[in-house]
Structure formats: C-alpha cells, structure tokens
C-alpha cells in the first residue's frame, strides 16, 4: 500500500511501444557508426568552414592570452605574533630522536617557518646515522590519512568524551592490559606503572632469542651490541647488519671504520646467507646456504674453532667456506666476531659459544644494558589466548599494530573484535585501530615530547618541532588522564628527570634547555660490564641445529631497506625508492635463483614489456600468489619474500600511497570494492613453531600459475658487460702491494690513454707506446675551473658504499624530486636524481669467449648473465658535473651551461624540452618531466606535492619543476649558495665541510665526500688526489668533477 505510484521516464515507457521495448534491455543505445555519420547528406549543408575554424581558434587564443595577462594578486600573511627564533626564509634545526620500535637514531630536524622538512643525523651527539626510512619518515607527519581526532566506535568524538568513557572502564573490575612494542621511555614506563595497567610488550620483528640466549649463556638480559669497528674478521650467518638487522643504523658507520684500505688493514667479512642481502652483497666472501643449513654452518664453525660439538652435514662448498672463515676467525682471535640473524635460541647459543671461544665477548660483542627489543612473542600469544577466553577486560594498544604484524594476527584480530573495551592510540585508523572501539590517536614523533633510554645513563630526548597538526595526544599522557592524573605530558616528563635520574642541577631550566638543545641528558658510558660464558645449553643447541631438516624448497622472510616492518607503507618516497638489490619499486615478490626460475619455466628477465611470472606459494596450508623476481645470489632451492607489504588489506585508511593505482591514477579495487594494497603481507608466514618467532620456513611449496604480473624496476641490467672503466676494483693484497703508487700508475687504477701519431715516448719511432692520457684531448675550449674560483666536487668511495639508499631518499626530499608511481617507473620515467647502480659480476668475459671461440657479440650477450653467486658493486650515480659536458654542447637554447664553479647548471625556465641533453649524457642521469606531477590526476594518489598537507614537506629553496623540462642533480646548489653567503658574511673563505650535499650528509659510512676541489685544505681534494680515485668512463674525456674510489675487497688475489 505504501508505494503504489509508478514513475515513467517518458511517454514511450508508459505506452510500452515496440521501440522502447527494444532499447529497454540495452544499457547503451545502438552505436551510430562513423561512416554512417559522415555520409549523412544533411551534413554537407552544415559544414564548418576552414575560415570559421580559424576564427574560433583565433578568438580562443586571443581570449586565453588576454586572460593570462592579468597579474594575479598574491597574498602574503605575516605572523601575528612572531616567535623570536623564527625568521622567515631561515631554517632552524632541532635535536630530536627517532624511535619506531626498530630503528633508534639521534637526529636533527630542519624546519622552515615551523614546518619540519628534513631529517638528518645528529652527528655531534649522535647514536646512529639515519637510514632511508628515518630520512623519509618526515613525510608521514603530513599524511592526510592521519586521524584528526579521537573516535568512538568509528565516529568522530572529542577528548572529554573519550576520557570519561575510558576512565570509567579503567576503574572497573577485571584484567586491564596495555600492549606496546618495546617502550624505551622512562617517563612512559612511569606513567604505565601509575596507570596500573599490566604491560605486555612485543616487537613487530621479534628478537627474543637474542635476549634469551644472553640470559642463558651470560646471565644478563641484554640485547648484544656489536663493535664492528674493532672486528678484524666478521662472520655473519644471515644477519643483515648493513641493511635490516636490529640497530642497523649504527653498524654501517662502525663497519666502514674497518674498511679503509689507506689505513693498511681491512676487516674481512664472510657471509653465509639464503637471500642476497645488503650485507652479503658487501661481504668479501659470500656463501649461499639454505635456512635449515644456517645452523649447521654455526655448528661447523664451533667445531672448527673450539673443537666443541660436531659439525653437521654441509655441502662441500659450504664446508670449504666454513674452514676459510674459521681460519680467519682464529687469526683474528678476540678481534673476530660471529653474528647470526636467525631469531632461534639454539642458533644464538651456538654463536655465543663461538664468540666466547674466540674471546670476542667483551672485545667485539658486548652485553650491556641495551634496552632494545624487550618484546616477547610468547606473551603476545598468551594474551591472545586470554583475550579469547574472556580473561581480559580492557586492552589498550599503543605504538604497535598487532593485527597486521603479529604472527598470530588473525586469531588476535578475532579476539580483539569480540572484546568490549578496546582502545588504540595509533595515528592512523590502521588494521588494529579499525577494530578497536576507541581510537585515541597519539602524536607523530615530530609533534611530541619524549625521552628514550637506549643504554647506560644517557637519555635521549624527543622534542616537538611543530604544533600538533590534528587533535591528537601523546599516548602516555592519555594513560595519565585515564588513571586520574591530570598532568600534561611535558611537565610529567620533566619531573621524571628531576627526581629519578640525575642530580638536582638537572632540574634547572638552563640545564634542561641545554639537554634539549643537545638532544640528550647524561653521559654515554663506555661498555664495562664483563660477562662470563657458562655454555650450559651449547651441546643441546648443537644437536638441535645439526638435526634440522629442510624440505625441497625453503623460505627466508626478510625486510627491505626501504620498507622495514611495514610502518612506512604509506610513504610514497620509500615505496618508490628501489630495493638496493633487486631495484624493484612498489612491490614485494618472491626472489628465486636463476636456476630454479629456469627449471620452473618462469620468466627469467623482468623488463618494461616482460612481466614477472606468478607463482602460488603455500606455507602450512595458506597460500598466496606472488610475482617471481630472478635474483642472482639467491640460494637454489630457497625463496625469499619481503615483510612489510600488504598493509591495509581490508581497505583500512592508512594513507593513499599504500595502495595500488592504475594507469589513470585511480585505485585498483578488489572484489570487495576495497583498494588493493601494494604487495602482500607475509607476516602470517613467520615461523611460530618455537618459543620465538623466526623468519624462516623449512618446507614450503611453490607452483607456477601461468599468470604474469608487471614489476617496476629502475635497473633491468644485471652486469656492466665488461665495461671496466665504469667500476674499478681490486683485492686488498694487490692494493697493499702498490699502495704508494702515484695516481694513475697502479695496476688496479691505470690512467686510460689514447694512442697518438707522435713520438711521445721519445724512442724515435711511433708505436703502441706513444699514447697520451684522455685529459690531453680537447674538443672544446677548456672551462676555467681548475684552481680558479670554486670547483665543487665529490668523491664516492666504492669500498664503503653499501648501497643502503639513505643518500637516495635524502637527495629526493631535499630536492623535491617527484614521485611518479609504479606505472611510470615501469616505463623508465622515474625522476630519481640519484640512483645507485647495482652491478653483479659475470662468469663470462671476452677473454673466455675468445678461448672458447665464441663470437664477440655472443660473448657480450653471455656477459649480461650474472654469476649464480656473484660479487656485487653498488655505485651511486648522479650528474657528474663534467667540465667537458656533452649535454651542454647540444642544448639548442643554452638551458644547461657550465658555471665557473664547476657546476653543470640546469635552468628550468629556459629549457624547452628537446631532450637532446639526455640523449647525449654518457651517464644517463638526466630526467625529463613528462607530466605535471604536482597537478596531473594520474599522480594525485601518491605525489606529495598534490596532497594539501604533504606538500608542506617541499623544500622552499628548490623549484618544483613543471612539465616539459629536464632536471638532474644540481650538487645541492641551494646549499652551496647559502654556504657561500654565510662565508661572505663571516668574511672568511668557505670553510671546508660547511657546505655538504644532502647525499654526503646522509651517507652512514662516509663514502661520499663533498667540498671545494680548489681549496687546498679541503678533505675532498686530498681524497680526489688519492691513487684510488678515478673518473667513471674516463676514456670519453668528459672530465667529471665527481671521483670514484677504486673498490677494494679484502679477498685473496686470485678471487678478485
């Protein structure tokens, strides 16, 4: 009865005519063909003439021109009450500390007009050096998807309401639990104690076995601290200390300290690993072992070194490598060091036994008061069980995302959903927060006060560098409020340090201000604690490891340098930073050995038109389809998959860049209508069979599905195909023999010469001996830069460059390099000013081809294939600022010119986009703006410049380039200009070290140096005159201002 009216779309429908009935079933009317339309006779009388067309065009053009003549009125809004320390146009730096549950680094935050825009290492007081993730984390501050205020049941609410709701349940009966990752803040721990909540910690990446083994073997509950700067021989069994291992932020610099050939000695690194990791690619010797064999490598080492236990079964190759490693370890004695990455108690106990036998404990490995990684996955499991049983009344979740990264996530999520009182303090409505009843979002670390204690008496401070952008509250302050203590977080935090930690003097404002200025309170203590090895469980551990069985295919889960454990999934800059080894962006995938790929008939080469093959990976009953990346150095019979992908799988709003976009820029959606996340989440595949979560599975199955999937790689070539003038390398013995050689004379770094038709050698005949160095040949007038004015230059030491990509993100944030998205990267239109070329060694060479009678072309083709376990070179590549720049001579409009300071200048406003320069660049470092990235809709979902909030991260000192212009590395000319200005004001020459490019500043191993090559006292000048220095592609004679330093590997000569 309620609704009997009928509505018609027209009379046809009412009368139900035949014509209507025929169209009714069709969504679109019958298409009228073009031919039909064009041959319509009536058209001839309605033609628009050429003249009319021109008139309309002319009018349109004039109208557009006139409209453009109007000068826009630009508003300028000064501060109403300007803070004294802010001067518009001048950057301020604040000391702070980054801690996300995994990485802990002292940083300096650069702000402009109150906006944080750059994060760099605080080298003066610092613990650690920023890596790519820390560097790029400044973007997440401005993520639009952050919660703008508290929510109850998914509905926006206010803090008063949230406080009353949560306080009520906190006062009620029942077990109340706080779940966090490892909390390092003494003040937060104090507030937790006061709140009366039961505190449970777990870590996204579990390192529980490290603490447990230290407890068992040394009687200290501490996370180990490795002194790589002391170690002469390092053996790592799957510990990627240069890439993703715990505390990697500190190990790069420490490792590099022992990798200086000029010092006359170098450490030697032996790596035994499954996947090709950054550490493996930088190791002197690398051996491929399956996850199940890693334990036997450790037992074999132990047997070799102390004769303890027995060696299990290993392949001949691995046994040989173990013997060599043991020999080096024994030689190094207490200066040796063994590390293992596996979070397996038996493994860590055996490693402890080896280190103890070497005398390394107390020399290269310390068990102090390191507070990192106190989490326990066992207690998380127990909590899940309790929650399921209804034994937990209230659960507060802070600083962690268990629904995504807990190994038993689905069980946890189910139990969480069933609970009545759940509070999440996440900044985003992420996987966990979306389920929790109350969301009480916390501050971003750049908005918050905090104190962190990582070791000893030293306390590092986090200070806010911007007012909170949203209505958020530090989670520990929320805890205080909910437990009835109405104190603001800052006051509370200061009171912690007045009473507990230091003398009363600390209480004065002056001391406090000094501490905030420096970023820390207290003093760093030297390691002193001596521990003794008990070795109780060693024998059992050995037998456990020796008995470990593996299936046909084993799997090792790893973290990418760019993505970590997934906290940064919505960071477009990190998503687009290529993985240092695979060079793939915007995805995770299965890495497989080439031999396995060929055996399964999968695609062995990934390119723009060559998508990756899909395989179905099954682990204990659950399976996923993932693309396969053929990876040199991957142990045959194993696969590797990166953690940290597949965030927001149920459409949680965690930030736009975490989801895949199609060719037109809109989100790809799955069958539920949810956006498809980038990559897939493999946390559920972490190994839960032991007490601790391990990231290896010993028996998985893979099968080809026949499907394909495009991967976006920035570098598809694997080798440099015998072009040895790009990368020069030698072994340490050869280097040492000729260490005193004049530059250009050593056999491992000979000057490249060209034969001339003149008697240079003076032997009376013109023969092969008559040659001149390439620098003697000039096609053009010399640019007057040598010894004249400034000559900005850079040196890059290939010996210490690990490929970690911190320089890449630093460069891109400093220089507003646009993010272009997977589709454009796939078309090789990435805009990266700085890239790190990764070259694998090949077994083949022209000489071998000659011997085997292969044709030259066929030999070159074979040289494209990398070895199964190749040596690797990471080579940062950016504009070389050639003094004879080929790009400058071909520019028709002189948009790229040379400055008398040695810079190859790129003038965007003059560029007309012919791209001749890019064609003529031998280093292929010029990038063309194909699109208006800050405006075009294709990039709307990930380009920071298109996000109303995230565009605040753009550096105001660098132009945001527009469509149709070429761009490239400028050697951070904005920093050079400001450094010169400072010198002019001070009335002194530019002091060495006062101008540093973003990449040099970010480099954790100090491989990159920058300065004025004409300054006789400059460090960079001394390095460029070193006999290891060379120019890439020296034979083409373009005279770059960037020098590379010959890579020296600490290997036996015949292996180099």
């Amino acid at each position: 009865m309620a609704n009997t009216k009928r509505y018609w779309s027209g009379l046809d429908e009412l009368r139900e005519t035949e014509a209507f009935k025929t169209i009714q079933g069709k969504e679109f009317p019958e298409a009228q063909s073009v031919d039909e339309f064009l041959t319509d006779e009536r058209l001839e009388s309605t033609h628009t003439g050429r003249r009319d067309f021109l008139k309309f065009m002319g009018f349109g053009l004039t109208a557009a021109t006139l409209a453009a003549c109007e000068t826009p009125v630009i508003k300028s809004i000064p501060y109403t009450n300007k803070p004294e320390e802010v001067t518009p146009g001048v950057a301020n730096h604040y000391a702070s500390t980054y801690y996300d549950g995994h990485d802990f680094v002292n940083v300096l935050v650069k702000t402009r007009e109150g906006r944080p825009i750059f994060v760099k290492s605080n080298t003066e007081t610092g613990y650690g050096r920023v890596n790519a993730r820390v560097n790029a984390s400044v973007l997440s501050l401005y993520d639009e998807a952050r919660l703008d205020g508290p929510r109850i049941g998914g509905e926006p609410s206010d803090w008063a309401k949230v406080d009353s709701v949560v306080s009520n349940v906190m006062q009620g009966e029942g077990r109340k639990v706080l779940l966090t990752n490892t909390v390092l803040s003494p003040s937060a721990l104090r507030s937790i104690k006061q709140s009366g909540l039961e505190h449970i910690q777990y870590d996204a990446i579990d390192y529980g076995a490290f603490r447990a083994s230290a407890e068992a073997d040394f009687g200290v509950n501490s996370f180990p601290s490795y002194r790589l700067e002391e170690a002469e021989t390092v053996v790592t069994i799957g510990a990627d200390f240069l890439g993703s291992f715990a505390d990697n932020v500190i190990y790069g610099e420490r490792w590099a300290a022992m990798r200086k050939p000029e010092a006359g000695k170098m450490s030697r690194v032996h790596a035994f690993e499954t996947n090709m990791s950054l550490t493996g690619s930088n190791a002197d010797y690398r051996t491929m072992v399956k996850p199940s064999e890693q334990g036997r490598v450790a037992t074999a080492l132990l047997a070799q070194i102390s004769g303890q236990g027995s060696a299990g079964q290993l392949s001949d190759e691995a046994t040989k490598a173990v013997v060599a490693a043991a020999k080096d370890l024994k030689r190094a004695g207490s200066k040796g060091l063994v590390m293992a990455g596996s979070n397996d108690l038996a493994m860590q106990q055996v490693v402890n036994a080896i280190n103890a036998a070497l005398g390394a404990v107390g020399s290269t490995v310390f068990y102090d008061t390191m507070t990192l990684f106190q989490g326990s996955s066992a207690s998380l499991k127990q909590l899940t069980t309790d929650m399921k049983a209804g034994a937990v009344e209230v659960l507060v979740i802070a600083d962690c995302n268990p629904v995504y990264d807990a190994p038993n996530a689905s069980a946890f999520a189910e139990a969480l959903e069933a609970m009545k009182h759940t509070v999440c303090t996440s900044m985003f409505a992420d996987e966990t927060a979306a389920i929790c009843k109350v969301n009480a979002p916390t501050h971003h670390w750049l908005e918050s006060w905090n104190d962190l204690q990582i070791e000893g008496d030293r306390i590092d401070l986090v200070q806010p560098t911007i007012s909170p952008l949203h209505s958020t509250r530090m989670w520990a302050e929320s805890l205080l409020r909910w437990s009835g203590k109405n104190q603001d977080w800052y006051t509370y935090l200061r009171s912690t340090h007045a009473s507990d930690y230091t003398s009363d003097a600390m209480y004065t404002n002056a001391d406090w201000n000094k501490a905030v200025h420096n970023g820390f309170i207290g003093v760093e203590v030297e390691p002193s604690q001596q521990v003794s090895f008990t070795g109780v469980g060693t024998a059992q551990a050995v037998s456990e490891l020796n008995g470990r069985k593996g299936g046909a295919v084993e799997m090792a889960l790893y973290q990418k340098t760019t993505m970590g454990a997934g906290q940064h999934a919505a960071n477009p800059m990190l998503q687009e930073t290529p993985d240092p080894l695979t060079k793939v962006t915007w995805d995770n995938y299965v890495t497989m050995a080439h031999s396995d790929v060929d055996a399964m008939g999968l695609n062995g080469f990934i390119g723009q038109e060559k998508p990756a093959s899909l395989v179905k990976v099954t682990v204990g009953g659950s399976s996923m389809e993932l693309p396969v990346f053929p990876m040199p150095g991957q142990t045959p019979g194993t696969i590797g998959i990166a953690l940290g992908y597949g965030r927001g799988a149920n459409g949680e709003n965690i930030g736009k860049a975490a989801f895949q976009t199609g060719e037109n820029g809109s989100f790809e959606t799955n069958t539920d209508g949810n956006p498809v996340p980038v990559g897939q989440n493999v946390f559920p595949w972490a190994n839960e069979s032991g007490t601790f979560t391990d990231y290896a599975q010993y028996d998985v199955t893979i099968e080809a599905t026949g499907g394909t999937y495009p991967l976006a790689c920035t570098q598809i070539q694997n080798t440099f195909m015998g072009r040895e003038s790009i990368v020069k390398e030698t072994d340490f013995t050869s280097y040492f023999a000729e260490r005193g050689a004049e530059k250009g004379k050593a056999s491992w770094n000979e000057l490249i010469t060209l034969a001339v038709h003149e008697d240079v050698s003076g032997d009376g005949t013109i023969d092969a001996q008559d040659a001149k160095p390439t620098s003697a040949f000039d096609l053009w007038h010399e640019h007057p830069v040598e010894e004249v004015g400034h000559r900005w230059g850079m040196t890059i030491d290939l010996t210490t460059c690990t490929g970690c990509s911190a320089c890449v993100t630093a460069c891109h944030i400093e220089n507003n390099v646009p993010v272009v998205g997977k589709d454009e990267v796939r078309r090789h239109r990435d805009m990266h000013w700085m890239r790190i070329d990764r070259f694998f060694a090949s077994d083949y060479s022209l000489e071998r081809g000659e011997e085997e009678g292969t044709s030259v072309i066929a030999s070159y083709r074979k040289m494209e294939d990398p070895s199964a376990n190749p040596q690797t070179v990471h080579m940062p590549m950016m504009c070389q600022h050639c003094n004879h720049a080929p790009c400058e001579t071909v520019c028709p409009v002189a948009a790229t010119t040379h400055s008398n300071e040695g810079l190859n200048q790129m003038t965007y406003n003059r560029c007309i986009g012919t791209r001749y320069c890019a064609n003529n660049c031998p280093y292929k470092v010029r990038r063309f703006n194909w699109f208006n990235y800050p405006g075009y809709k294709k990039f709307a979902n990930f380009n920071p410049a298109q996000d109303s909030l995230m565009r605040m991260v753009l550096n105001p000192d660098v132009t945001v380039r527009s469509r149709g212009v070429m761009e490239k590395c400028s050697m951070c000319v904005q920093r050079i200009q400001s450094g010169k200005l400072d010198a002019k004001k001070a009335g002194t020459p530019v002091p060495d070290g006062s101008v540093v490019t973003a990449c040099a500043e970010a480099c954790p191993t100090h491989a990159i140096s920058f300065g004025d090559l004409n300054d006789k006292s400059a460090g960079v000048r001394a390095i460029s005159e070193n006999n290891r220095a060379y120019h890439a592609l020296e034979e083409i004679g373009v005279k770059p201002n960037i020098f590379y330093m010959t890579k020296v590997r600490n290997v036996e000569p015949n292996k180099a």
Partner: protein
C-alpha cells in the same frame, strides 16, 4: 670571574665619577640651556616617542615637565640615561612613574645623551619655539595631507573613447537608415534616387581618390602600430608601478619620513634572510601599543592591527581567547584573523633572490631597488626612472635602464656593480685564486683587464646563481 668582578668594580667607580661630574656640571638642569641645540637633540633622540605638548605619541607628552618632576635632578639624568637603573633607586616619584607608564608604554630605551645635552633638551622642552611643527625637522617629507587618499588609476579616457566610437557607429547607422528610407520613399514616388551611395561606397571612393595620401598615412599608422605593439609586448610581465591596495591603509611616508623609523626596524629580516618580509603584527605593536590614533585615518586603521593581535586599546592590554584583557603580551589563545597583505614584489618561483646577500654582503641601499619609499603611501614596485633620479640624494646608487623586477634589470646591475674585495675575506680569497691562476685563459684575462671587479666577473651572470 676575577676579570669580570674587576670590570664591574671599575664600571661602578666610573659611573660614580661620571655622576659626580654630572651633578657638578649641571647644578641646575632646568636653566640656561641652549634651546636650539636642545631642539636638534630632541628631534634626533626623543621626537619619535615624545611630544613637547601634552599630546601622547608613543610615550607621554613632556609639556610641564619642570613642574611635574618630583625627584632629584640627578635622578632625571639617570632616568634618561638608564631608566631601569633609576627605578632601582627606590625613589617614590620614579616608582609612581614606572607603575603608571611602563605597563602601557614599556621601558624607555636608554639614551646616549650627556647631562649637558639633557640640560639643552630640557630648555627646549620648556620653551619650544611657537611656530615649530614637529614634522618640520628640516626634512622634505610629503606631509600626510598632500597624499592622495585613493590610488586608483584613471580609466575614464578609455570609456570616453569607446563611447565616442559607439556614438559614431550609431550616427552613421542612423544616417544610413535615413538614406535608405529617403531612397525608398523617392523610389515609391518614382523620383530619382539620392546620388550618394552608402557610406561604405563613399568611403571607398574617397579613399581611391586620395590614395597616395591615404597609403602614406596608412603606412604611418601601420608602423606606429608595430612600434606600439612591440613596446606593448616588451611590457608583458613588467610590473613597474604595481601598487596594490592593502587591507590596512599603511602610509610609508608617515612612518619612514616623518617618524624616521628605519627600514630595517620593520623589515629586519632583509638583513637575516632572503626575504625582507612583511613585518609581523607584534612589531607594529611596539609603537602602536602607545600610538592609538593615526593622523590621517584616526583609529580605524590602527584598530585593524588591534583586531589581528588581540589588543584592547581602552585598557592598553592584550586580550586572551576568552575575551579577557589584562595581559602585557600577545596571547596565543587569542584567535584573531591575521592581516592578509597583498604581496607587492612578486618573483617567479624559479627565481631565488636573497636580500641578505645584497644588503649585508653587497651593502646596497634599500632605495637602489625600491626607490624613495619614504615618499610613498602604499608599497609599490618602483620605476627605474624614478630610482635613477635619486642618485643625488643617495650617493652610491647604481643607475640602471631596464624595467625593475625584470631579469634584464638584475643582470644589468650585476654587470655594473663592483665588488669591494676588501669587504670580505671571502672575496679576497676568490680574487687571489683567480689572479694567481690565470694561465693564459682569454676569458680570465679579461677579468683583470680593467681595475674593476664586477659581480658578473665572479659569476653573477650564471644561471644557477639565481635559478635552481
């Protein structure tokens, strides 16, 4: 520490001596001063805040000071030389002054004047010459009354021309209609038609008859049009004379010329940063906490800055977010609408210009690029001709020919401006590197040919000096 104590003791002794000397020298501060000298001193040091009448400027008027002063003469000297020091003396009268005026006007800046100077000033303050207007301190300021209130461009000429054309068209159309009607009636009557054809025919005929003259005139207009067109195109993007209206009718001449506020008092970041910056409202408040009424617009314009920062002129205190006044400094909780100024000097995004480089390192005067701002009402882009006329007034100004804020103007100056090598150790170092390493390079030899070293010769014409 020892040195410091020593220094302090020495300073105390010195002060005591000076005070004694002062006391002796000016036995009676209220008599026998030189009025003329006093006037000059007063204008130089006091006039920006005090008036000799009862009128309040940025501080109380000084009329009747001799009768009012209730403390000793020594304290008056101390009060002027070091107000906070005088307040520490504990004198009752001084304390009453502090309580009464400091909350509103703040502390007076310590003045570097000798007791004799004070005596002269006091003589002037007590007997100001009758006809001496304060602003007429020997300057050629444009007084407020001479300034036009609205700076709107006069566009009535164009409208008049358009009306004229319209009128002509209508007149000709009407005449045409008239002719057609006449013809129609003539035709109906069977009479012969009018001899004259339509205007178009007539004009065509006339043109043909006078073709030589017409083509000459036509060519002239064509050439003229081409020249005009070329000039017009050359003005595209030239913003000389751009003078947007501002939300607050701020008059530069009143502040700079009459009140002698230095450019960098408000635009101080020109010395610290690349931006000269629009002063923040709290800078305005330094004076306008006391100056509540303008000479031209009364209270309306100044009220706008009070609204922005949250100041209650009646009580002379700041207001918080809840509307409660009584604060001595601006309150963060006050949520006022900031003043949205219209930016005058706009450079494209790809141009990086540093004020600091030009003002601090280069030592340029503001007038070299901005003209005689002290004669302006609202800020504007100065015309290069106007700037060139200031050469006599501001020695050292560089005369240029290209329109201001164009790249031609910038590089013309970079070609002319010389670098004082002695001004900075930086330039000396660079100069030596160039001089010592010429190595027969032609381009570099030119560098040393004349005795001048211009900005261009040190790379001031290179793209990446301004574009990056």
């Amino acid at each position: 520490m020892v040195a410091y104590t020593g220094f302090r003791a020495f300073r105390n002794i010195l002060t005591a001596c000076l005070l004694m000397m002062a006391t002796q020298a000016v036995a009676d501060i209220w008599e026998e001063g030189d009025i003329e000298a006093g006037q000059a001193l007063f204008n130089a040091n006091c006039a920006s805040c005090h008036k000799v009448t009862n009128e309040v400027l940025a501080a109380p008027g000084l009329a009747g000071i001799a009768d009012r002063w209730g403390a000793t003469d020594e304290l008056l000297i101390e009060w002027i030389q070091n107000p906070q020091g005088a307040a520490e003396s504990g004198d009752k009268y001084i304390k009453s002054l502090v309580d009464r005026y400091v909350p509103t006007y703040g502390w007076m800046t310590a003045q570097a004047v000798s007791p004799d100077d004070i005596k002269n000033i006091m003589a002037y303050v007590q007997n100001p010459p009758d006809a001496a207007p304060v602003a007429d301190s020997g300057s050629d300021c444009v007084t407020v009354d001479e300034l036009p209130i609205v700076d709107s461009s006069d566009s009535s000429g164009i409208w008049f021309l358009m009306l004229l054309v319209l009128f002509l068209i209508i007149a000709m159309a009407a005449a045409g209609v008239n002719r057609s009607l006449t013809n129609a009636s003539l035709e109906k009557d069977g009479d012969s038609l009018l001899e004259e054809g339509p205007y178009s025919t007539r004009i065509r005929n006339w043109t043909w008859d006078n073709r030589v003259a017409v083509s000459l005139i036509g060519m002239f207009f064509l050439a003229y049009g081409a020249v005009l067109g070329y000039q017009g195109l050359m003005r595209v993007g030239v913003v000389e004379g751009y003078k947007p209206n501002q939300p607050v009718k701020f008059i530069h001449s009143v502040h700079v010329c009459e009140n002698e506020v230095d450019c960098k008092y408000c635009h101080h970041s020109a010395y610290e940063s690349k931006h000269a910056g629009i002063p923040s409202t709290n800078v305005c408040m330094n004076c306008h906490k006391a100056v509540k009424k303008g000479r031209r617009y009364g209270e309306t314009e100044i009220a706008k800055i009070y609204d922005a920062i949250g100041f209650d002129p009646a009580s002379g205190t700041y207001v918080d977010g809840g509307g409660k006044n009584g604060y001595t400094s601006p309150q963060d909780s006050y949520d006022g609408e900031p003043i949205r100024w219209n930016k005058v000097h706009n450079l494209p995004d790809h141009v990086f210009f540093s004020h600091q480089q030009h003002v601090v390192v280069g030592g340029l005067q503001c007038q070299n690029c901005h003209g005689d701002v002290e004669t302006y009402t609202v800020g504007r882009v100065a015309k290069v001709e106007d700037i060139n006329q200031l050469v006599d007034k501001y020695p050292g100004l560089i005369e240029l020919s290209k329109p201001t804020l164009t790249m031609g103007w910038c590089i013309e100056c970079h070609n002319k401006a010389e670098i004082d090598l002695a001004s900075s150790g930086y330039y000396e170092d660079i100069h030596h590197r160039l001089k010592d390493n010429l190595r027969g390079n032609e381009e570099l030899r030119k560098y040393m040919e004349d005795d001048k070293i211009t900005v261009k010769e040190l790379g001031g014409w290179e793209c990446a000096k301004c574009h990056y």
